[in-house]
Amino acid sequence: MDDNYLWDGSRVPEGAGVEIVDIQRLEALLGRFRTNAPAPKLPAHAVRRRTIRAIAPLLATAAVVTLMVMAEWRAVGRLGQVGRVGRVGRVGGATIGLTVRAVEGHPQIDAVKIAETGRIAVGQTLITDRNAKALVDVSSIGRVTVDGSSRVRLVDSREGYHRLALDRGTLHAIITAPPGQFVVDTSSAVATDLGCAYTLSIDEEGTGLLSVSTGWVAFELNGRESFVPAGASCITLPHSGPGTPRYDDSAQQFRDALDRFDTDADSTRRRAALDVVLTTARERDAVTLWHLFSRVDAPDRGRVFDALAARVAAPAGVTREAIARLDRQALDRWWDALGLGDTTWWRSWKRGYPDLK
């Protein structure tokens, strides 16, 4: 394939081959769908004029006072229909709370049932029985639907950072924010949003499942991390934390074997399961194989190396020895070759969020 033409279309040799002509034909065919969308009409910004800057301190003071009054009013006075759900909006501190809406039944915030809407403050718990479902507006960055039979605590909530803890049950998150602004704790793993939509379920013992529908989620416990892409799932287990991510469209035999590998404490059975995983993996399952490097025992890394190399060639300079000692740069380079985004991106988002380090 002529990568130069595919790269920028600028180098078309005389007597271009069939492949280039094919690309040109595809360009001509698909070019009709090129964007011609007009620029949108933008809403007025909250801060847009220099004159406003001049009185900004006054406005800020007024806003703070107003928020304090509103917070007190919400917490104490207005909640006849909804019930008292705690103090929210601690202006000047971290706590701003989140709006909760009852979708089905009567979700509770701590002991108080919500009729329609309420607010959950940091430290409070949203509880749904089996007939209830709730929607949590995560500031302006997304929303979380909490299914029945669930308990969700609000751990932190401030501009640019929101953290929930799912003690049990299921939540569905859709987040449109820079990576790292939305985090969900469970007892066996921490799910950090990397710009995505996902479903997370957990039982009271800490056994759970993360399924990602768009974007990526980082799933972590004590330094053991899984990066779960769209279309993939990852289990999490008490004590051991995140399992190995796998695509949901992988073969049943592959998924069953991976489950045995992740959950079985018997080393002989784990090795047998690993055999099946390595032989039934598709090229697309390279992301699973890559994660296995840090999960198999050291003597088995060579087998994983061969299996991954058969599906995605090891980049130049990435040696069996480097992988055997889990050399970071070698692992990074192979990750980059998987076509899933590169490691510089994975790191850059975290540097912007010191709380996550």
Partner: protein, 201 residues
């Protein structure tokens, strides 16, 4: 065993510590991009219109790969309005492209969730134009490719972006974009072959 990428214990890149790939678009935003983003966050609509012009093709490609064609333009506008209202939340200007792309993907997914009864117009709606029908058929095949290939190919083949532009806008390294283009094109050829669609006559 600790995870190999070791994100949490990894020091930031600095003196003596190099990023693992040659180009790292997300590590530092060009000064003019950072300035434009700051101006947009302050309500400067002209600055935001420059961001729109620079990034609309990326967003359009992402959305086109996911939702019915008749909804694409409206959704692209929605994405940019949403971005305009939230751009002050962006802490690191260098992450703008990835952030915008994530918003576009999530907005498209959200749209599909609420419009699941909507169907794509049939291929012959364009008055029986066989070229149009073929183009739609090829687009359908591209839409079924894995995310990374689909988006990159649509940016290249539909929007006419070069590999370098795709890397700059998305924050991917040029090497990753090249891989996505190469593998995506290979996969597209394989999937077009049985139907004969998109082949040279």
């Amino acid at each position: 065993m600790d995870h190999a990428l070791e994100l949490r214990r990894m020091p930031p890149f600095g003196p003596g510590v190099q990023p693992p790939t040659a180009v790292a678009n997300v590590n530092a935003a060009p000064a003019d991009l950072a300035t434009t983003i700051r101006a947009s966050a302050a309500g400067d609509q002209e600055a935001f219109s420059r961001l729109y012009a620079d990034y609309v093709r990326m967003v359009h490609a992402i959305v086109l790969g996911r939702v019915p064609r008749q909804d694409v333009d409206d959704l692209v506008q929605d994405v940019f309005v949403l971005v305009y209202t939230r751009i002050r939340e962006l802490r690191n200007p260098a992450a703008f492209g990835g952030w915008l792309a994530a918003i576009a993907r999530n907005r498209a997914t959200d749209h599909l969730r609420h419009k699941h009864e909507q169907v794509e117009l049939p291929h012959d709606v364009g008055g029986g134009d066989p070229i149009e029908a073929e183009a739609i058929a090829v687009l359908d095949v591209v839409r079924k490719l894995p995310d990374a290939y689909r988006e990159t190919l649509l940016m290249r083949l539909v929007e006419g972006m070069s590999g370098a532009e795709i890397a700059e806008r998305t924050g991917l390294t040029p090497a990753s974009v090249r891989v996505n283009l190469h593998r995506g094109m290979k996969l597209l050829r394989e999937r077009l072959e049985p139907a004969g669609a998109g082949r040279r006559e």
